[in-house]
């Protein structure tokens, strides 16, 4: 993986807003925010051309802490809003940032369609396997038996594997990151932004307040870099790496080239605004 952080061109402060993060001390989301700041300054984008789209949840507050454009929507609907923005203006740099509940529970129906659409955005899911904003309930990525106030006997639901889901949905870039490794995370976000198509980064971002099971410490013990010979263009290898539980692999699991949704839309556009009067005149003729 290239060390993109070495070519940083913009001061970090340019991307910070005046709004101070609302997260608890020690929240994994701080690491993700810093990773994003670093990735954006590496890319050298102007803040006017960036749109951060999110849903609802602790992590979805992130756009307020960045000095770019943002759309903090409603719970679970980040993908449709991001789709609309990109269809309207494909030149904008759109990143979606939200949590595991937003992406895989209430927004689960949208996730796989954004993936199969191959929308050219980078989607960072800040995965803490817990609902934090509502003070600690089980999430789609919580392990079986996870005890919370809504699952006092432990959740019977099996966890979603976001990477397998993304690969199956048709995402063309699938990676796993960890907030405890901010440099690698920033590099992955840069790769995700550079990827043409739907880039999913599931990022372990521990909740120190409500999740005492999935912690910085546990993730450090359970995760490992992908073996150097991992070929992300090989679907079979990708599925195997995504499904592996011991260790949980970090890095680019899957990468494939394919036409983006925006390219498809652009290719279909046979005219411009200037053609509107002629198109309407032709329609009136057709129906006369």
């Amino acid at each position: 993986m290239p060390d993109n952080t070495a070519v940083a061109v913009k001061p970090l402060d340019e991307f910070k807003s005046e709004e101070k993060p609302t997260w608890c001390p020690g929240c994994g989301d701080f690491g993700v925010l810093n990773g994003l700041y670093n990735a954006l300054r590496v890319k050298g984008y102007q803040t006017k051309d960036i749109v951060l789209v999110s849903g609802i949840g602790c992590s979805s507050r992130l756009p307020f802490f960045v000095s770019s454009y943002g759309f903090h929507g409603v719970h679970g609907r980040a993908m449709p809003i991001a789709t609309g923005i990109k269809v309207a203006n494909p030149d904008l740099k759109v990143l979606a940032m939200s949590g595991d509940g937003d992406a895989f529970a209430i927004g689960g129906g949208h996730f796989m369609h954004a993936a199969r659409r191959n929308l050219d955005i980078c989607y960072v899911i800040m995965d803490n396997a817990i609902y934090g904003l509502t003070k600690g309930q089980t999430s789609p990525t919580s392990s079986v038996g996870f005890v919370t106030k809504t699952t006092p006997k432990g959740t019977p639901d099996r966890p979603i594997n976001p990477l397998l889901l993304a690969v199956a949905g048709g995402a063309t870039f699938v990676a796993r990151a960890f907030s405890g490794k901010p440099k690698e995370l920033a590099e992955l976000i840069v790769e995700g932004i550079d990827h043409k198509g739907f880039a999913v980064i599931d990022c372990y971002s521990p909740c120190p307040t409500f999740n005492k099971v999935n912690t910085f410490k546990s993730y450090r013990e359970e995760t490992a870099d992908l073996p150097p010979d991992h070929d992300p263009t090989d679907l079979t290898q990708a599925i195997k790496a995504a499904a592996a539980a011991d260790p949980l692999y970090l890095g680019i699991i899957y990468r494939q080239q394919g036409e983006s949704f925006e390219d498809h839309i652009k290719a279909g556009q046979t005219g411009t605004e200037a053609d509107a009067p002629r198109v309407l005149a032709e329609l009136f003729q057709r129906y006369s």
């Binding site: 759309f71 903090h72 449709p80 809003i81 609309g84 269809v87 309207a88």
Partner: protein
């Protein structure tokens, strides 16, 4: 049969057997010949085959409703006969394809003749596919349509398929005409005058097509939708047209996604729309609230069908007014418009974009099944009146709009409540759109004073909208004591009922506001105050519009409700008018 100034023809048979194409050919040819044309049909449903019907009403003048009864029923098969014969008027004419079935002897209340479409096509023409064109020729001959208009249509439709196909179709037309001239003695009494030729250009489109044309003319460039009866053809229409003007159509995974995409597109600076029917609209309400809170213009068309739940997908009901006007959690600011006819579908689509842009609000257009599938011959819309002014935009780099302080605040308090909107890509306009309560800069805030002031700011925009309400439809005698206040597709039936009432010497006035929410006081109040009795006919059970009117004006009105899934009949509303007339004097 007595001579009359209009004629209702219904073609019925198996879906996919040419009912629709027969009806459409007659409609277009008659419209070109100068007839007033209004059609009704059962919209395509989810199941292939089954019963299908296409009804055409023709007149020398403009028509406003489908007609209460049928004058001519053309049944392609037994089912088409059985399902529709009950609506054939006394003294009407039944024609049936004798190659397919023979109906029983009729009780003598109508006439019936065989019209051997299948046999003529198969045996006489050796061209089985020509059955529909034989039918077109027969119907054309019945009411005296100049065959030249049909021939020209056949040329347009079949010339590119080769001379052989074209000639076969022309012969089929001829065969249909000849058969009627030789075998149907009633044709002499069915002749219908067309209106004198006029220079005014006309088009024949459905309500759904008119909505799509209006949106296109109003600058809609992104459409996202999820297929649903009876709104789908709006999406199909725009899917082929928007790319020609640099726009795009996205088929979303559900209706929440559809309106979410439209909001994203509008946030990014392009005019955007979605269209759906009741079940989809229920799902969209969540993001209607987001549109109101984040102050993002968006247009949502709800082609109402009969509900609740999946209800009757191919039937009509004016049942979504409460949902459109007041549905959703919190107090969602939104505008609701209702078109009354096919040409009004165009006008109201333009109005919707105009109001959405101006007020930075979601605008709901309440159409319905009847309006959506109905085709009418309408004057070609005037595009110069379809120009829509852009929303108040933040120009960037500290250049605030007129009367605004420098430094950008997305939700800056202004007198009108309208704040300049920055579009991503604009330097200096960076902000975060949010459904959370926010301060002028768009930052999440939940202190009391801020919420009070922001609520007032958003609510003030409704007053702006109220004042900007497009002109209402008015009809009848302004000084009448009896008034009819209605909305949407019920209007056309009301107009025709008033015409009949007038012939009987009754004075009635009618009003249909184009804007249903917020209620345009300056249009409705004087009407209520000048009438002794006000009827409010709606095709719903609970009288939703009547309730909104009562609540706002503390004035009782007389609800008239039809909840069968069908429109009112003219005779039904006439009875209601006559019923209250004595009390009003």
């Amino acid at each position: 049969m007595t001579q009359r100034d209009d004629l209702v023809i219904r073609v019925a048979g198996e879906a996919g057997e040419g009912v629709l194409s027969t009806g459409q050919l007659i409609t277009l040819a008659a419209a070109r010949a100068g007839y007033g044309v209004l059609t009704d049909s059962v919209p395509p449903s989810e199941i292939k085959g089954g019963h299908s019907l296409f009804q055409i009403r023709l007149s020398s003048h403009r028509l406003q409703s489908r007609g209460d009864t049928i004058d001519i029923l053309l049944a392609f098969n037994q089912e088409g006969y059985e399902k529709n014969i009950g609506e054939l008027r006394e003294g009407g004419l039944l024609l049936y394809d004798s190659g397919d079935f023979t109906p029983p002897e009729n009780p003598g209340t109508y006439r019936q003749h065989a019209l051997p479409l299948t046999d003529i096509a198969r045996k006489e023409l050796q061209f089985e596919l020509g059955k529909n064109v034989v039918a077109v020729g027969a119907v054309a001959a019945l009411f005296g349509l100049d065959p030249e208009y049909v021939k020209r249509l056949l040329h347009q439709r079949f010339a590119r398929k080769g001379e052989d196909i074209l000639n076969k179709n022309l012969k089929a037309l001829e065969a249909g005409i000849n058969y009627v001239e030789r075998n149907i003695p009633e044709r002499g009494t069915l002749q219908l005058e067309s209106s004198p030729p006029s220079d005014q250009k006309r088009i024949v489109v459905s309500g759904n097509q008119a909505v799509a044309l209006g949106a296109l003319a109003a600058g809609c460039r992104v459409y996202a939708g999820y297929p649903i009866t009876p709104a789908t053809d709006i999406m199909e229409f725009l899917a082929s047209e928007l790319p020609k003007v640099g726009g795009a159509v996205v088929q979303a995974e559900d209706e929440m996604a559809a309106i979410g995409m439209a909001l994203g597109a509008s946030y990014a600076g392009r005019r955007a729309m979605t269209a759906t029917s009741g079940p989809g609209f229920s799902l969209m309400v969540e993001l209607l609230g987001l549109a109101a809170m984040a102050e993002i213009p968006v247009v949502v068309v709800d082609a109402q069908r009969a509900g609740p739940s999946t209800g009757m997908p191919t039937r009509q009901e004016q049942g979504d007014l409460f949902l459109a006007a007041t549905g959703g959690h919190g107090e969602i600011q939104r505008i609701v418009l209702a078109p009354v006819s096919v040409s009004d579908c165009f006008t109201q689509a333009v109005n919707a974009f105009s109001l959405a842009e101006r007020c930075q609000l979601p605008v709901v257009v309440l159409s319905d099944t009847i309006l959506g599938v109905r085709t009418e011959s309408i004057p070609t819309p005037d595009l110069s009146s379809a120009k829509v002014a852009d929303r108040l935009r933040y120009e960037g780099n500290g250049h605030a709009g007129p009367g605004l302080e420098s430094g950008y605040r997305r939700y800056q308090f202004t007198e009108s409540g309208i704040s300049p909107m920055a579009i991503p890509g604009t330097e200096g306009g960076q902000y975060v759109a949010t459904g959370l309560e926010h301060n002028e800069s768009g930052r999440p805030r939940s202190d009391a004073a801020n919420h009070r002031d922001m609520t007032k700011k958003r609510m003030n925009k409704l007053e702006l909208a109220r004042q900007a309400a497009p002109p209402p439809h008015v009809y009848g005698d302004e000084d009448a004591d009896v008034g009819v206040l209605c909305w949407g597709s019920t209007w056309g039936v009301v107009v025709e009922a008033i015409d009949v009432a007038r012939q009987k010497g009754l004075k009635v006035a009618a009003l249909a506001p184009r804007m249903l929410w917020p209620l345009p006081d300056h249009q409705i109040k004087p009407f209520l105050e000048s009438k002794r009795i006000v009827l409010v006919p709606e095709t719903n059970y609970s009288g939703q519009f009547a309730q909104l009117v009562r609540a706002r004006y503390l004035r009782d009105v007389t609800p008239v409700n039809e909840f069968t899934g069908a429109a009112f009949k003219v005779s039904q509303l006439l009875d209601e008018i006559e019923g209250v007339y004595q009390h009003a004097r």
